[in-house]
Amino acid sequence: MNELIQIQNLTKIFKSGLVGGYFTTAVDDISFDIHKAEIISLVGESGSGKTTVGRLILRLLKPSLGRIIYEGIDISTLKGKKLKEYYKHVQGVFQDPFASFNPIFKVDRVFNLLFDGYLKDKANKKHELIVESLEKVGLNSLDILGKYPHQMSGGQLQRILIARTLLLDTKLLIADELISMLDASTRVDVLNILGDLRNKEKMSVLFITHDLSLGYYISDTTMIMYRGNIVEFGKTKLVFDNPLHPYTRMLLSSVPEIGRKWKKSELEMKRGELPPGGCPYFDRCPLAMDVCRKKPSLKEIDQNHKVACYAAEGVKSNDPISFGKSHDS
């Protein structure tokens, strides 16, 4: 078994508003595994629930339903000491490097916190350990230690945050949009660090992103999320070179790429309403059929390539469902 962590039927429902508010399902019954030394990219647009998945695995949120199994233990109900133990192995880096640092402390604090919490016994080697971990992410400790976050660039800060995870026995890193706020010229270098960590430290990374080309570049496995559901999952090459879900195809065709001009498309419009319990892509899907009113489950179509779509499974319908005239006119 080389599964590192297993996500089973994970669901998160947010309650908004106070008494008698309404509910939003951010993550809708998803299951997947992350293997050892695997970079898995979780791709989705805003509102797809991808960030929620990351925060659930980091236990910054509590799941409404489902289990997150790490080393045989369901961590979704852990508290206090046991949760602290879990953080020895599962760590995170967030989207906004400047917001990740408490502005009133020097950057050293992110290391000090770990020495206070986990590494009391290594306090005598503290400095060497920090210097070493900074070197692993390509930073010179002399440029870093003793400075305030506002004196650093976003790229440096993100590297520092990755370096801190190296002090622990991190097996899984949740990297939530970690480079989306960095400049293009420094982005790829930070991304490369993830690849190196996988290769050298055998770390697994859940790379959450909305940028498909970045996902393609760095990950072994790709998972496409839409409205809280996994619609496609598989080896990165398979998913990107042979996309099966109409949503994935739409996404890929919308990626701006140098050297490939966008094909002019019809203005996409909502076609009718989303049936409750139906395919989440129903109202935007050009292939929607009657059978899609019942949600398709994630099925393995090829080896290492799963999709949740009847059309991709080969279910055929003679006439794509008629939605009538566009509701606007």
Partner: protein, 330 residues
């Protein structure tokens, strides 16, 4: 082709307690009629300051020199009142913050009517609303939207509404400031296509499209200008810039972009080491000097600002490697 906008040695500084931040520091370029002129660069390079200052120069932004000639008038010398009259009618903007560009307590139709009637008192309320509805329909928005408040709209819808409002009076020049950066890929494409269509229909003549994302520019721009730390480094046709970048910054920047089909395990891309200079106290010479692998004449590169020269017809570069006498590149 006629020049619609001709900008020469244009400077805009930010006044702060500690001094002036030279955000746009001697920029020269022109925009032709009927073209999409792309402006690209990383955060802090001055591209948004440039775009915003052309239409609405507001403290702490301060005009610090140069000219900007729009349709024969130097708008950099315009008074507030002169400027106010050409905004929206001649030059307009889709702001970066389209998500909260509309007052939350007014209906869309009231906003539109109030804004248009500041310029055109002859148009009746009904005419204005009809025109808005007509344009809404063109981009798939229901006519009911005019009766809504902005807070009832989704992010993508707000963006579309703002695009319609900004172009309602058919401005000659439209500044599109990072309109795709907050959007998902599918909406990005939609916005760009919408802009294209507005241009086809002659709602706008020329567009200055500002973005940090060169691959989006590739989809829409006729020409591209690359900025770095308040300076122009390179201007040229889109295809040339993308496939044959000349300035070392442009080259490195484009080669650092991941493309579909490239994987870390097969080909390791590289970024540009180092960071842009502080614009409060910029270096005296080339602003890319610190990070430049080329430094064709280190003494000169470090101490003298390279001028923007027309290296080939239509291709402008500001790098000592491409000025006469140093022409040992490529």
């Amino acid at each position: 082709m006629a020049k619609l906008l001709d900008v020469k040695d244009y400077k805009v500084y930010y006044q702060t307690l500690k001094g002036q931040i030279k955000a746009v520091d001697g920029v020269s370029f022109f925009v032709n009629s009927d073209e999409v002129f792309g402006v690209a660069g990383e955060s802090g390079c001055g591209k948004s300051t440039l775009g915003n200052s052309l239409i609405y120069l507001k403290a702490p932004m301060r005009y610090a020199g140069g000219n900007a000639v729009l349709d024969g008038n130097d708008i950099s010398k315009f008074t507030d009142d002169q400027m106010r009259r050409i905004r929206f009618e001649k030059i307009s903007i889709i702001p970066q913050f389209a998500m909260d560009a509309m007052s939350p307590t007014k209906k869309i139709k009231n906003i539109v009517v109030d804004l248009v009637r500041e310029h055109n008192k002859r148009m009746s309320e009904k005419e204005i609303i009809d025109l808005t509805v007509e344009r809404f329909k063109m981009i798939g928005l229901s006519k009911n939207v005019v009766d809504m408040y902005s807070i009832e709209l989704s992010g993508g819808m707000k963006q579309r509404v703002v695009m319609v409002i900004s172009t309602l009076l058919n401005p000659r020049l439209l500044i599109a400031d990072e309109i795709t950066s907050a959007l998902d890929v599918s909406s990005q494409k939609f916005s760009v296509e919408m802009l294209d269509e507005f241009k086809d229909k002659q709602f706008v003549s020329s567009v200055i499209f500002i973005t940090h994302d060169i691959s989006v520019l590739y989809q829409i721009a006729d020409r591209i200008m690359i900025m770095y730390a308040g300076h122009v480094v390179e201007i040229g046709n889109t295809e040339d810039i993308v496939s044959k970048p000349l300035h070392p910054y442009t080259k490195l920047l484009i080669s650092s972009l991941p493309k579909m089909g490239i994987q870390f395990s097969q080909k390791r891309l590289k970024g540009i080491p180092g960071y842009p200079p502080n614009l409060l106290n910029p270096p005296t010479g080339c602003r890319f000097y610190d990070r430049c692998p080329l430094r064709v004449d280190p003494q000169k590169c470090q101490n003298e600002i390279p001028p923007l020269v027309e290296y080939m017809p239509g291709r402008y570069i500001a790098c000592w490697a491409y000025t006469k006498g140093n022409d040992k590149n490529e």
